[in-house]
Amino acid sequence: MHSIRKILIANRGEIAVRIVRACRELGIASVAVYSDADRSALHVLHADEAYRLGPAPATDSYLRSDLILAAARQSGADAIHPGYGFLSENAAFAAACKDAGLIFIGPGAESMALLGSKTRARQAADKAGMPRTPGSTQTLESLEQANEVATQIGYPVMLKAAAGGGGKGMYAVYSADELQTAFDNARSEAERAFGSSEVYLEKLLLRPRHIEIQIAADEHGHCISLGERECSVQRRHQKIIEECPSAILSEALRKRMGEAACRLAMTGGYTNLGTVEFLLDSEENFYFLEMNTRLQVEHPVTELVTGIDLVQLQIRIAEGYPLPFTQDEVQRRGHAIECRIYAEDPDNSFFPSPGKITRLLQPSGPGIREDCGVYEGWTVPNDYDPMISKLIAYAPTRLDAIHKLLRALDEYTIHGIRTNLELFKRILADEDFRIAAIDTGYLERLLASPARKMLAEESATFADIAALAAAFMERDGSPTPAVRAARASSSAQPAKWKDQARREGLRS
């Protein structure tokens, strides 16, 4: 055991806040780092200490391992939690932490390099006898090579960043003439997001579900599965809604997938928390997709269903403690669903919508958890991922959780930036989602279908209320000259307005 006293969190936003909270609950001091865009960010306010890294671009701040290690030295931190994204799956950074005498809260650099690289992990999966989708097990050196592999396995194919995650640098390619643009875009996006332009490609399955297994491995040779998450609701390969458990997984299949995930992790000498992602076809065949060698965005749904605090568990494992429970002791109860709230404009192809949050009214109460990275008055910067918060509901059944989420969404108001809040209401009310008839193409199909029009009557009522409220709100405002003239003469003729006949249909 090597007791950790102070953790530097090499991340930002909601996940940095999440980790600060775990530190405080364990009596461990927390150190935030920040770019110039994040001086006033929530994670800086919550942490015990805070150090500036550099200018706003991630390549000048959150991706600069040298600056992060310098901040660790300066603060006297003895461990680093990388969160997700940024340097969390960078084996060189993990190794550099170790060289600097710091505990990296995650797997060792070698097993990260093996299992975290999408291409090498596919080789390891082959060795462990795990089914995987056809495609390259090597980084594509050139467009020609990409063309060759794609032609061999047949279109459609998927281009992916070897160092990637979170849907970034992923491009579906349906025919050969789309390959060049996709190849260039994927490499460029991968370079920007992960500091490596390496990409590979694999066969695109039709209508698969995305099911992933959360594993936990200690430094004493134990590895267990904490169950699955279903993350099939995606837009542009970016998860939008995740849930635990999956509505369609049988106990037998859950066990088989959990065992396969643990086998892969053990093969790779993996420690700490990790997630093995699979695609599942309609015949219950699962295919290894990739392994995320870090905490996942969607870890809260597993926490709610198992009752285990995963970030605290990560820290305890990194301190050298054995897992505090066996596979059989992991109890699942109830159903949890998470919505990822993004600063993006639903009227503009969900393009990012950074800016100042002028109003933030957040839900709470029974069965609702929010892991939020922003606050009213904060300006969401242009430089990073647009996810600003995660809203999670927990209830005895999936349908109860859906109803709790809808209730919470009704209580949620964000002004100043556009968000995808309305999208969740649409999904959660959708019949296919309710019966869990979802796959990774579900959301794109839903978005392509015409939105259910609000009942005309309901819409008219709200518009009436809006008009009354606006008139009330503007009663002391600065009216235009036309309005001022009208107001001056209004006291002479109030009776007239009241005498007008009621219009039928308008709430009378």
């Binding site: 393009f351 990012p352 409220a469 606006a470 009330f472 109030p494 009241k498 007008q500 219009r503 308008l506």
Partner: protein
């Protein structure tokens, strides 16, 4: 006797609405007229930009609404109001500014200005100046918050101007290219 409080016209959801309000007898109660329809309600301001409104007449009598207002756009005067999950944009009606806008719109006929839909960085130009493009052809790729967005021509034409270069930061609404 209740005194006149406000008489106002609003452009709300594309429809012109006429509202008059007078104070009611009890504190916080109001009587008014919405497009010729008599209406009574209670209203109280909870904090700046947030009010509670309870209908007191019609079939919806008793319905309670929390209305949350955004700050008005200083340029256009447009303001959003959210009622639960329903959001409406409105402007206080001013005939002169409307005329102005439609005149400007006419000026642009025949010319398409491709504008940035959001602040970000230009990561790639997909055409060269002078190129002829089809409708929906990609012109510029902008990256913001790690997301790339391809801006496309809304109709066919010639790219007569490319006003930005790769790597340049642009702000929302900035003209990126001119297509004629």
């Amino acid at each position: 006797m209740s005194a006149g409080l406000v008489k106002i016209q609003l452009l709300l959801g594309g429809v012109l609405r006429s509202v008059t309000l007078t104070r009611g007898e009890r504190e916080g109660s109001y009587a008014g007229d919405l497009d010729g329809q008599a209406v009574e309600f209670d209203a109280v301001s909870l904090m700046p930009g947030v009010l509670s409104l309870i209908l007191r007449s019609g079939t919806g009598a008793g319905q309670s609404y929390q209305c949350v207002f955004d700050q008005a756009d200083p340029e256009t005067g447009t303001r959003r109001v959210s009622i639960g999950s329903h959001t409406f944009a409105y402007q206080v009606y001013d005939p002169r500014s409307l005329t102005g806008r439609s005149k400007r719109a006419r000026q642009d006929e025949g010319t398409l200005l491709l504008k940035a839909t959001m602040a970000g960085r230009v990561v790639r130009l997909l055409v060269e100046q002078g190129a002829h493009v089809e409708s929906h052809a990609g012109i510029v790729v902008i990256e913001a918050m790690k997301m790339q967005n391809e801006l496309r021509a809304q109709r066919a034409g010639q790219v007569t101007e490319l006003r930005v270069a790769e790597g340049e930061m642009v702000s929302a609404g900035q003209v990126l290219a001119v297509i004629e």
